[in-house]
């Protein structure tokens, strides 16, 4: 059903990773991505793989959920693989017609593929274990210091969470308008691409009008409930670091140090 849609494919269960502070998860994801680009030998990748496996295990999210997300980058993965395989200069291993596969090429291609898979899996662990709401909260808190340089952090977070709240409502409305237009003979399916795009106009115009009307109503409702920006607001669910969050930070720090030590300096 349209109304049950959740953005960012959150997987509902109870695990240590789910209970972590969203800020920890955001920071960890960024660190993990950085670590993937820092390491460039086998030991480093084994480390990264172990770390990922541990987190996935702790998160209790079935591995098939992760693999499902891989499908979307299969094409990208193949291109990266082929280009690296054939276009890296070095010691020739196999030579077919004008194409040459080099030892360096194989190494490069495998690393690239592993890097991409880890990257996507690493970030999907975050979106699978954190609700969009927690994510916006975490981002607001993390980017808080940017307020000094006049970045409207609270406003951006508020906009994101309102957008999330209205996605299902607007989807439902699109559905309704579509049916109403179809009942009056509109055709959304046949014709070539240009015709199809043109047929969306009678759908988008009413949708935009209604979205603006809703925005106006919502702004009034927010003002009448004393909303006046981020200034002296308090939080119903404030983010406070627990013991497990500090432990997680420690673990991530150790992982980073190990990555740099084994994945970069040695060998």
């Amino acid at each position: 059903m349209l109304r049950d849609i959740t953005l960012g494919q959150y997987y509902q269960t109870d695990s240590v990773i789910h209970r972590l502070d969203p800020r920890v998860k955001l920071v960890t994801t960024v660190c993990y991505i950085v670590s993937l680009f820092v390491v460039d030998n086998f030991v480093g990748y084994i480390l990264a793989g172990l770390f990922l496996a541990l987190v996935v295990k702790l998160s209790k999210v079935p591995v098939k959920f992760m693999v499902r997300g891989m499908k979307s980058i299969l094409f990208l993965l193949l291109i990266a693989l082929i280009f690296n395989l054939f276009l890296t200069p070095g010691e020739v291993v196999v030579s077919v017609w004008k194409l040459q596969i080099t030892r360096e090429g194989i190494r490069q291609a495998v690393f690239m593929a592993v890097r991409l898979v880890f990257l996507l899996m690493g970030s999907s662990v975050m979106t699978l274990t954190t609700t969009p709401n927690q994510l916006t909260d975490g981002m607001e808190k993390l980017l808080g210091p940017l307020r000094v340089v006049k970045v409207p952090v609270h406003e951006i977070a508020m906009m994101m969470s309102i957008a999330l709240r209205f996605i299902p409502i607007l989807l439902e409305e699109t559905d309704k308008i579509m049916k109403a237009q179809m009942a009056r003979g509109a055709d959304f399916e046949s014709g070539n691409l240009i015709k199809k795009v043109k047929s969306l106009v009678p759908l988008l115009v009413p949708l935009f009008i209604s979205a603006f009307r809703r925005a106006n109503d919502l702004a009034m409702a927010m003002e009448s409930r004393c909303y006046r920006g981020g200034g002296n607001r308090t939080k119903m669910k404030p983010l406070i670091y627990q013991k497990r969050d500090r432990l997680a930070y420690g673990a991530v720090f150790c992982y980073l140090v190990l990555c740099i030590a084994f994945g970069k300096i040695l060998l």
Partner: protein, 289 residues
């Protein structure tokens, strides 16, 4: 002085053409004097475009008077310093349940008002619990608002207002988009708030059935107050209500017709029970019972 007072309140909408020249002026509220006491249940009636919603928005300082003054709990709504106090003391519930829920979870939405007021976290939780219990929505606190019915969403909106501890709640056609069941739920919740918590209620509606619980009814027409009095007094003037393009509940209409045709039935019958009682009284008097 009452909780809400207006004196010679006038509000004009200025219509402009594309260049910004004044095309015309519509007087939406015209010389309204209103006085609402603490703990009252007031109903404001009127057909579409009678100015009742515009009047309501003055009480929450969303509109400012063109002429005249509005006081909420003795504070003038025109003064900027009073703005947030007034919005906290006079909460507002709007017509469309979808367009006034901000949170993605019921409890977060109810907490939105107190968060804005800077209430400490501990107390927010306490207020959310109390308000959700007051409207009977506590067991839905973890739900997404998208999964609730219209009547439930409106009750959540009401809880969101109560959590700000207002003295008065203005409900601007809260039931207009609901089915009969949802309407009943909402009106029951509103009456309970008035009875138990003694919060002043200003209910704006065009459903006649909803005003029979009010202490006092104002009927608006063309921006002016056309009638005022208790529900009984209002409903005893069936002809006048019809001339203001308002429908009367069926029972009241039937009683009115019977009275017109010569039966000794008192004016302003509001419920079925009353009509049955007065009809059987007539039967007894005539010796048929």
């Amino acid at each position: 002085m009452g909780i809400v007072e207006t004196k010679n309140l006038v509000f004009e909408y200025i219509r402009r053409d594309e260049e910004g020249n004044v095309e015309g002026i519509t007087r939406a509220v015209d010389d309204v004097n209103l006085s609402v006491g603490q703990g009252d249940f007031i109903a404001i009636l009127g057909h579409n475009g009678s100015g009742k919603s515009t009047l309501a928005k003055h009480i929450n300082a969303i509109h400012y008077p063109t002429e005249g003054t509005v006081w909420v709990d003795g504070k003038d709504t025109c003064e900027d310093a009073n703005l947030w106090d007034i919005r906290q003391e006079a909460g507002m519930v709007f017509q469309n349940p979808d367009n006034q829920i901000i949170g993605q979870v019921v409890e977060e939405d109810v907490g939105f008002g107190p968060e804005n007021l800077g209430v400490p976290t501990q107390e927010i939780w306490q207020r959310v619990e109390e308000s959700l219990k007051a409207v009977g929505m506590y067991e839905f606190r973890k739900y997404s608002p998208n999964k609730l019915s219209g009547g439930q969403k409106q009750r959540v909106s009401i809880a969101g207002v109560i959590a700000m501890h207002p003295k008065c709640i203005v409900l601007d056609e809260p039931t207009a988009m609901l089915d009969p069941n949802g309407r009943r739920e909402v009106i029951r919740a509103v009456r309970a708030l008035n009875d138990v918590e003694e919060i002043t209620i200003i209910l704006i509606t065009h459903y006649m059935e909803e005003i029979i619980y009010a202490n006092k009814v104002f009927v608006m027409d063309k921006g002016k107050i056309a009638m005022e009095g208790s529900p009984k007094e209002i409903f005893s003037q069936v002809e006048k209500l019809k001339s203001l393009r308002l429908d009367v509940p069926q029972v009241t209409l039937l009683a009115h017709e019977l009275r017109e045709s010569g039966l000794a039935i008192p004016a302003g019958i509001l419920t079925c029970e009353e009509l049955v009682a007065s009809l059987s009284a007539i039967r007894r008097r005539r010796g048929w019972g």
